[in-house]
Symmetry: D2
Subunit: 253 residues, 4 copies
């Protein structure tokens, strides 16, 4: 049995993770952490709740974190130092913090995973795009989100463009004589990104590849955040075998 602590148990992702853990036969929820405990929490008997890291004296194999950017570094450090393998879904760790945590994990001899995105369709899209760009260097990204999304392009679209740029051979790109033009979208290292913002839409991304006489399109649609639980499940299955603290769910797919 894998013993698990969930940090951020009162949030939406924490609650969904709790249901997931309950449904897994080889897992047991042993602890739950939230700074402000909520009386309505309906946790399995025997789960210890705590609202301060200092109060945590529970032995566990895995620490799953869906808390807030301001807490995630201290939480992850605490988990590693107490030999709990971290599965981190909270955003906010910067590059130097990640390096420090990776060193700490190496010293303590445990693996773990920091995943900015637990949506399997998005992570698989990026994995496939990396491969496809080797053979189809000409590619463009279209991301579509609800009208309330304030930033453009989406972080995922930028990351996708970076993956294409790193994977393709610049010599193979078809030259275009078209002048720069607002209709051609944002340019990330030569990859065009187009952002659509419309009511009704949720979160969608497609990558279009074109070559002589053919086209390849990879598309993912996220309808709601329940989709993240499939990714968390994969992480729980794999984390005991990891020997390093890795970044990105794609590393274990």
């Amino acid at each position: 049995m894998k013993k698990i602590i969930i940090a951020g148990i009162t949030g939406s992702m924490g609650k969904q993770t709790e249901k997931l853990v309950s449904s897994l036969k080889d897992c047991e929820l042993v602890g739950a952490f939230a700074p402000h405990l909520d009386d309505n929490l309906d946790l399995p008997a025997g789960t210890k709740l705590f609202s301060d890291l200092k109060d945590c004296d529970i032995e566990a194999d895995i620490w799953i974190d869906f808390t807030v950017p301001s807490a995630v570094f201290e939480n992850t450090k605490f988990a590693i130092e107490h030999k709990m393998r971290p599965i981190i879904g909270t955003s906010g760790l910067d590059d130097s913090q990640i390096s420090e945590l990776q060193n700490l994990a190496a010293i303590n001899g445990i693996g773990g995973i920091i995943a900015p995105n637990f949506g399997l369709s998005a992570v698989l899209l990026m994995k496939f795009v990396k491969e496809a760009a080797k053979y189809f260097p000409d590619a463009e990204v279209i991301e579509m989100h609800h009208a309330d999304k304030l930033d453009a392009p989406s972080g995922t679209a930028i990351k996708t463009a970076q993956i294409i740029a790193e994977s393709r051979n610049p010599e193979d790109i078809t030259e275009k004589t078209l002048e720069q033009n607002p209709a051609r979208g944002a340019d990330y290292e030569g990859i065009k990104i187009h952002s659509v913002r419309l009511p009704g839409y949720v979160a969608h991304e497609q990558v279009l590849f074109g070559g002589p006489g053919e086209a390849l399109t990879i598309r993912q649609d996220s309808f709601d955040r329940s989709s993240f639980m499939q990714g968390v499940k994969v992480a729980i299955e794999q984390v005991m075998n990891l020997t390093k603290l890795i970044v990105g769910l794609e590393k274990i797919l």
Copy 2:
């Protein structure tokens, strides 16, 4: 029997039109015009060829024009003055020329059609978009063309955006607080247009509409110019009933 003259018989569109006319039971090719006659032309017996308007003494019901911008105005004038109903696929007529030709048609009591685009899928898309924009004021246009297309956005995409802008009620548009941003594409009267340029692609356009909890998408794909013949066929069927010189195939669909 509708008697037909094809102007521009030696071009690709002229040749396809000749095949179309031959296949229609109620049509007869009586004349063919080209400044430089091509000996390899294999026209039905009895078709008179001529290489100068002055040499044309043929009576016909319909004049179909796939020539060049520099010739189209004189050709169309000639057709109308000789009581032939024009079906004009040649580009290059400006607004004042079109007005003059419309007056001339009215004086001569005949109808006709000037069509910048004979592709039925593109014309129907624009017709449907006009209707949809009344109920879905939030819309974006994505057009996708081969990597050699030099201009962006495409003329069809701009026309599509104009149709949306004219048809929708500005008060119904969902407000977006997003700053202007290259990823958001070109802006035509508040409609965003995104242009994709990739090898393998031919000529494609899609319009995305979004509303609360739903989306509507209309897409057209043009794989080759043979598609224009369906539109020419519709024009031949309808032109005898027209009482004006109209612009746009959508007027008779």
Copy 3:
């Protein structure tokens, strides 16, 4: 001010309709009907609640019905006899009941609308499909729904196929020598329908049209039933101008 009664106020659609009516400046909710009244209802002051048609002595212009199949006929009859224009979203009326109600509406000199589907994207899709089938007689329907949907094809897909069959000219269909084959889907009057059932999907339909060298695709996605409110809004705007009891939102789009 249009005075409105909502029948089925305690259901999900009834509640959403109540919010819609509250947001419309020229509408006033004057009555609400539900067989089992719910104390938690938070209706505008002055709205009369009743749980039996006999208790309804309210004067209103419009009766909006989202109740149950067993009640809808009696409700609609009641509304018409009391000079309230019916907007009926409840399913379950059969052809003879509809005829009877249409006669009753004619006698009472009022119009109204029975709409099996208030989703604007689905209704517009059907309207456009009717038009497109005249020019693109070759068409296939693909509908995609969540894995729990028990019937296939969907009712909307069957209706779409019927519209295509009625609208296209059978002589124009491209002959196919392919033998009947399970991969080719269900056949409704010569139109192929394909039904996809997958988790994650909600309710989506696309119609593919193909012609020489080109293709036209119309697609609609319903993500949640909030989308129906746009259609109800259109019905409220138009119902006072109707002189008959019509069936289908497409009649007033």
Copy 4:
């Protein structure tokens, strides 16, 4: 310099391969084989033409075969016995012939490739589908072809379904209570395949994956057979490093 013989030089694929080889800096066409030589062939100076295997005394590194099913086995045998690495695009080899050729290649110590499909987009689609099915066991295949295609489903769609069936864990599939139904398409080991046949379409395949709250779609479009040349190019680049006679371009992508 890689010395290359092209068998089937007079066919469409042979001619395209000749152009490809001419454009590659590290390749030299040394021989061309066709049973009926065509005087119009415009081959590089120094290319030896032959119309019978007996007349072939040319030394080459690679034998590229786009001939006919009745000739491909003897051709490939000949190539291997003469230490030429085969790249076989001709269909028609059965399983026992492939085994025999693989043994022969092992004895002669050379590698090669037999590829039923050189279209990179189709081959990559199958590669990605194999990976995706591990995480998205619920999948359906939709293939779309021109109206003249006589068989359904396409061979590629059947192969795609087999890949999904082999890759996914049957225990993870979402149970559907829906009865078998023509609209649900053909069933290959539990995977539904839908075949669309419409004029205008060329050759297209999409695989739809669905999971809780999300969807992943992979689509490929083949517009013309020029697309195969990208796959042949990859095969030429890799074949000198192969130590076995492999089947399927996906093995070297």
